[in-house]
């Protein structure tokens, strides 16, 4: 396999708040290959967004990265100065957020906002930057690009605004696009347009995309590979087809089972019992153990990631952080329910 474009090792991020320290990310490893769409799926508080924002050190107030390495082009992003990081953000790694309105300057035409990004990162004339902006608008399929470029953000619909955000993120041909819940605020018909656009752009430009979402449907439609996050840790990772066909972790299985099945309309749904953990005081072992129907006594000890070695239940490249995936465990550990 070729070298990954980004490799994240043992990332830990916490938030200091008035009510205590929230352990948002607790040792996440991630590798991103060139040209792949990696989905990060999880519920609120699972650490999926914080992981992405840690990569570019775009944390909100109170956020601190306490350990980890983010290797990109032979450098550790987490060790870069603010000035060096500014060169990476926008130029090499583009970001698209859930709410495009809050990320755009409302008093500036969208064209000027793209031109500004281009002129900051590239030595080009204003005229050339404007031409490039029109080209980018055409790339993301904004109709009448040449005239729409002089509009203000509020003159666009939600879906078109998200296209503007994507155009800005792509301005400098980034190697990586981080899309944090890019379609969550959009209607389903617009969501499908944006997801189709992201796939098309990946095919045409060859960039890698990290797609953060809480929607397994979005993952199934868009991602090549997926990581399921819970309690600030990766519970399971796999190729998308493998995750849906043979989920290993009880949390993944719970999430998939909770999706309404049209063939079972009218019957009770199968929810995951209980509530997500308070990340100020996460459970000592597996974060999902308190809600897990298969929890055992050993689940109070943090499980490591198990891979397919010796375990026929896992596919190549599939890994799960669950004691049940330990192919070498003595049988008696499975006999002590918690």
């Amino acid at each position: 396999m070729t070298a990954p474009v980004l490799s994240l090792r043992d990332l830990r991020t916490e938030y200091r708040t008035d009510r205590g320290t929230v352990q948002a990310v607790r040792g996440i490893d991630l590798t991103l290959q060139r040209g792949e769409i990696l989905g990060l799926v999880g519920e609120s508080g699972s650490g999926k967004s914080v992981t992405c924002m840690s990569i570019l050190k775009l944390l909100k107030r109170g956020g601190h990265i306490t350990s980890g390495v983010a290797e990109f082009e032979g450098r550790d992003l987490l060790q870069l100065s603010e000035r060096q990081l500014t060169a990476v953000r926008g130029e090499k790694i583009g970001v698209v957020f859930q709410d495009p309105m809050s990320a755009l300057n409302p008093t500036m035409t969208v064209g000027r906002q793209i031109v500004e990004v281009l002129m900051q990162h590239r030595k080009i004339s204003k005229k050339a930057a404007r031409d490039r902006a029109v080209e980018l608008f055409e790339l993301v399929r904004i109709p009448s690009a040449r005239t729409r470029i002089d509009s203000y953000p509020h003159e666009f619909s939600g879906g078109m605004r998200q296209r503007v955000m994507i155009a800005i993120a792509l301005a400098c041909d980034p190697d990586i696009l981080i899309a944090d819940e890019p379609t969550t605020a959009l209607d389903v018909t617009i969501q499908r347009q944006i997801l189709a656009l992201l796939k098309e752009l990946r095919d045409r430009l060859g960039m890698a995309i990290i797609l953060v979402t809480h929607d397994l449907g979005v993952i199934a439609e868009t991602a090549d590979r997926v990581m399921v996050l819970y309690g600030g840790q990766v519970m399971e990772e796999a190729l998308v087809a493998d995750l849906f066909a043979a989920p290993c972790h009880p949390y993944t299985r719970g999430l998939l089972a909770a999706i309404p099945d049209p063939r079972q309309a009218g019957r009770p749904l199968s929810p995951v019992r209980g509530s997500p953990p308070d990340m100020r005081t996460p459970p000592p072992g597996c974060p999902f153990a308190p809600r897990c129907p298969q929890a055992m006594r050993i689940c109070e000890t943090p499980p490591p990631m198990f891979d397919a070695t010796g375990n026929p239940a896992l596919q190549a490249g599939q890994r799960a952080r669950c004691w049940h995936a330990d192919a070498t465990a003595p049988a008696q550990i499975f006999e002590t329910p918690s």
Partner: protein
């Protein structure tokens, strides 16, 4: 047929804006029977939440009628409305914003009973404990404050409040959209549980079409202030007759990588509600639109099987409205 619990007749809710009139709800007729769950879907700006607020009489409708148990409540003043308020309650999307953070959960759930002057302080306490039990929180929750609960638990508080007065209809406006996936199913199951063995009815507003298929008996689809199709849930999913319904269904992400679609799906965007297209409002995005669609606005016509659609060229072999009109004439 027995008298419906709720009947909207040509309900209109127009707002005056600086850019001209905004026809948020523009002549919607529908009924909800006792014990029925009616789902309402549509994209943002289609008027589904405005419709809910108008029928709750949080607005005074600008036209049409709201009949609750046969009584016209469209223009009643606050005082005359009070006895009717009891019958219709609402659950909101954001349980955090909907709950006063300075009140305990017990006080919050008792509040509707107090306002209606039901029971004594003591009987209300008993009733609150019972309600908290019913929504799966347990009576102990009464002394705690909402902020110490998770989103799903707060929504349960909202539901306990809504059912305190034993309403006949609960309007649920995106009640699960803000909740985590693993929690959504808990809330939906609880809502179904609450109406079992009673004649409680729900108006369930959401953009989550797959969830709606699961819980609704019938589903109405709104587009730019109009009801474009309304039918039994199963029929609406398996054989939609309005091209917009078909478009909505095809846009839902399918949680099955084997069913992945890679077409570009360029279907345009919803026009501005301040500048509506002539004729059928959906024609600018409709793959089947003809000249007729630009000239005449199609009426919502109920066909023999109870499936109603407002379209000149309905799908799935149903008789076109125009044909039917000619036959009727």
């Amino acid at each position: 047929m027995t008298q419906p619990l709720l009947a909207l007749e040509n309900l209109e809710m127009h707002f005056q804006t600086r850019q001209g009139p905004l026809k948020a709800v523009d002549g919607v007729s529908l009924t909800i029977q006792h014990g029925e769950t009616l789902g309402l879907v549509g994209e943002s700006g289609c008027g589904k939440s405005t419709l809910a607020r108008a029928l709750m009489r949080l607005y005074r409708p600008t036209g049409g009628q709201i009949l609750l148990d046969g009584v016209d409540i469209t223009t009643l003043n606050e005082k005359a409305l009070k006895p009717h308020r009891k019958k219709v309650q609402m659950i909101f999307q954001d349980p955090v914003a909907a709950l006063n953070g300075r009140m305990t959960v017990g006080e919050l759930v008792a509040e509707p009973l107090e306002i209606m002057g039901i029971g004594t302080a003591e009987t209300r306490r008993t009733r609150v404990a019972e309600l908290l039990d019913n929504v799966g929180l347990g009576a102990d929750a009464a002394d705690r404050f909402p902020h110490s609960f998770s989103g799903g638990q707060r929504q349960r508080v909202g539901i306990a409040r809504a059912i305190a007065l034993e309403p006949e209809l609960v309007v649920c406006d995106e009640p699960i959209s803000a909740l985590d996936v693993s929690i959504q199913a808990q809330i939906v199951n609880m809502l179904s549980e609450l109406k079992r063995d009673t004649s409680l009815a729900y108006l369930f507003i959401t953009h989550d079409l797959s969830m709606l298929r699961h819980i609704a008996d019938r589903i109405g689809v709104m587009y730019l202030g109009k009801l474009v199709e309304i039918a039994p849930s199963e029929a609406l999913h398996t054989a939609p007759r309005h091209p917009y319904t078909e478009l909505l269904w095809s846009a839902i992400p399918v949680p099955d990588p084997a069913a992945r679609r890679d077409d570009p799906f360029e279907t345009g965007e919803v026009p501005s509600p301040l500048d509506l297209p002539s004729g059928c409002r959906f024609r600018t995005r409709c793959p089947y639109a003809t000249d007729l669609c630009a000239q005449a606005e199609p009426d919502l016509i109920t066909q023999d099987d109870g499936h109603a659609v407002a379209c000149h060229h309905p799908l799935h072999g149903s008789t076109s409205n125009t044909q039917q009109e000619q036959e009727n004439a």
